[in-house]
């Protein structure tokens, strides 16, 4: 049996918007296995991003527990969360979220700086990952000088730089045309198959979700079912 790497148990997340209380998650439970390629699919407003944020240690639940590996991350302080996500999680955003002042190489180096990796080592690590992403010739370009596909590949390189256990992608192809999107999906699949990374991505798109090993359906803040595809 496969090892569980992420486990959500009866997770609630409630936002206080003035006098309203918005329940983004209402008792969601989910297990993610090591080495899995999982899609979380749901309509907008179903709580996908909230779930992503919680799994990615960007926020803590109002109620319930989340385990990442052996860590209970449900009630940690911000600085501890930062430590964990910096080591174990690689984020990929819909809008790439690269720092426009910095070159591709520097963007990829950034998470390594936060991990206090020595300067020579981090340069080599970052250059290696960019190389893997086929961006050898684009390392010193600024994000604004790169195409959307290239930018997302830089972002993937950045996510991989710290050699995390889990890659979390939030609508990774949402800002790309379909052909480029397919290439990015292909890249994620390879990361999963060849580098054995656990990849979790969020989408509202059926076709994209079908490419995963398993789909978890999120509806109104709850995982209503999961479907294994392969």
């Amino acid at each position: 049996m496969k090892r569980t790497i992420i486990q959500l148990k009866d997770v609630w997340k409630t936002y206080n918007l003035g006098e309203h209380k918005v329940h983004a998650l209402r008792g969601a439970s989910l297990e993610v296995f090591e080495g899995e390629f999982l899609a979380i699919k749901g309509p907008s407003g179903s709580g996908k991003s909230t779930m992503m944020n919680l799994v990615g240690c960007l926020d803590i639940p109002t109620k319930g527990t989340i385990h990442l590996d052996k860590h209970n991350i449900s009630n940690l302080y911000e600085s501890d969360l930062a430590q964990i996500r910096g080591k174990k999680i690689g984020f990929i955003f819909q809008k790439f979220n690269l720092l426009n002042n910095l070159s591709a190489l520097e963007n990829v180096t950034l998470p390594l700086i936060f991990q206090n990796i020595p300067i020579e080592k981090r340069k080599k690590l970052a250059a290696d990952v960019l190389n893997d992403m086929g961006l050898k010739d684009r390392m010193n370009h600024k994000p604004t000088e790169l195409s959307g596909g290239e930018q997302q590949r830089v972002a993937i390189a950045r996510a991989l730089a710290v050699n995390p256990e889990v890659i979390l992608a939030d609508e990774p192809t949402g800002n790309l045309d379909s052909r480029t999107g397919e290439k990015i999906m292909e890249l994620l699949k390879q990361l999963n198959k060849k580098k054995k990374k656990t990849v979790v991505f969020v989408t509202h798109d059926d076709e994209l979700a079908e490419q995963a090993d398993r789909i978890a359906y999120l509806h109104d803040g709850q995982i209503i079912k999961t479907k294994r595809l392969r």
Binding site: N53, G56, L58, D59, E78, S79, A82, Q83, R85, G86, K87, G90, F91, F93, N97, L98, L99, N100, N101, L102, T109, L110, P111, I113, F114, Q115, N116, P118, I119, R158, A159, V162
Partner: protein
């Protein structure tokens, strides 16, 4: 140095590069303040140094006795006269003493009539004491000697033609207070326009001009070799008090050693410099507020970036460092440029002063002024950045990421 800081400095410089105009405008506030501090302090220091050197070259064994109530005894109603001089000369610990008179008088050359300082210096054995202090040298012609009545020395500007329309030469005749005088010598430049456009006559002829009575502006006394000037000054004070019939604490004269003169100059300089630096400090404060404003704008504009950095593992302390270093460098780079401008201003003032005869103005740039300004501008920048940086570091990652 932790290698993180190196990167954060690079990031800060890149961020300046990508926002050139805003960076420049923000730094402008620091330029002005630091340039003002550097130029003012350098000129003040230079001036103080020049004056100190001049005083020290005169020897510290002299006392200066002046009537109270006027600068150098000018414009005072109290009078020091021949009797006082005699008492000083014979007082304990005094080697010799001499007095000089100094007044503004009308001088005529050709059909031109002007007013300037005319001094009368003794030509007896006390001459050296006075001329040491006045530190003039003869450039042309000869010095005055005993019995040189109605002969004068003219300052360098008078000979250059900067005082009267025509140049005055050795041998020319002028009228002082309607009495004819002959120019026998021209002085070398002393370094300030007032001294360099004045006349020097013998004490006797000056006394005749100014009403026949010797009313000394200042009496200079040389202390016997080996005596402590301040102790001699104390005993002289008692002697003069008795002679003039005044009580202790109500003296109508003052006795200063050169050390005291120097001290009083220093304290005046200190006050003037403090005021000027205070003003420059206000402009630095404004500069700091400018940096704070820019940093707040920057935090606001980069909220999404901050969220991203947090998502990829930045701790609050990392974000704090990034923003503090950025604002510190905003101050420091501004300071560096300000120092450069300050040095240029200082040198320009020095040059301009030299052109108009004020050789005494020398800008001096000690290392502590340069390094201190640099450090101070970095601190101004960092302090100004504290609140914006704290705000940035405390942003919640998900809220920052959601921010467009």
């Amino acid at each position: 140095m932790n290698n993180q800081y190196y990167d954060y400095i690079i990031f800060a410089l890149k961020s300046f590069k990508s926002r050139k105009l805003r960076t420049f405008l923000t730094m402008l506030g620091i330029f002005v303040g630091i340039a003002a501090v550097v130029s003012l302090v350098s000129l003040g220091q230079g001036l103080q140094k020049a004056i100190t050197e001049q005083f020290e070259s005169l020897g510290a064994n002299k006392l200066m006795i002046t009537p109270k109530g006027g600068f150098y005894g000018m414009g005072s109603s109290v009078v020091l006269d021949k009797d006082d001089l005699k008492v000083v000369k014979h007082a304990r610990g005094i080697r010799n003493a001499g007095g000089f008179v100094s007044k503004v008088a009308s001088v005529e050359f050709g059909d031109e009539r002007k007013y300037t300082w005319v001094s009368g210096l003794p030509q007896d054995d006390s001459k050296e004491i006075i001329s040491d202090i006045s530190s003039f040298k003869i450039a042309e012609g000869r010095d005055l000697k005993k019995g040189d009545d109605y002969r004068v020395l003219a300052g360098s500007l008078i000979a250059k033609g900067d005082f009267f329309d025509k140049k005055v030469r050795v041998g020319d005749k002028i009228k002082v207070e309607n009495k004819k005088f002959e120019i026998v010598g021209i002085l070398e430049p002393i370094g300030n326009p007032q001294d360099d456009s004045s006349f020097i006559a013998t004490l006797d002829s000056a006394v005749n001009l100014f009403g026949g009575k010797e009313k000394y502006a200042t009496i200079m006394a040389a202390v016997v070799e080996g005596e402590e000037p301040s102790k001699v000054a104390e005993s002289l004070k008692r002697t003069l008090r008795r002679h003039r019939g005044v009580d202790e604490g109500e003296e109508d004269f003052s006795i200063q050693t050169f050390e005291e003169v120097l001290d009083s100059f220093s304290s005046i300089f200190l006050i003037v410099q403090s005021v000027l630096i205070g003003i420059a400090g206000i402009s630095l404060l404004v500069g700091g507020i400018g940096i704070m404003n820019t940093m707040y704008t920057s935090v606001f504009q980069r909220t999404n970036e901050i969220g991203t950095m947090k998502a990829i593992g930045a701790r609050n302390s990392d974000i704090l460092k990034i923003f503090l270093i950025e604002s510190g460098f905003l101050g420091m780079v501004g300071g560096a440029v300000g120092i450069l401008i300050g040095v240029i201003i200082g040198k320009a003032v020095e040059f301009g002063a030299a052109q108009s005869g004020l050789d005494i103005f020398k800008a001096s740039f000690p290392w502590y002024l340069i390094l201190g300004s640099l450090a101070f501008s970095f601190i101004v920048g960092s302090v100004a950045g504290v609140f914006p940086a704290l705000q940035a570091s405390k942003l919640k990652p998900i809220e920052a990421l959601r921010y467009e």
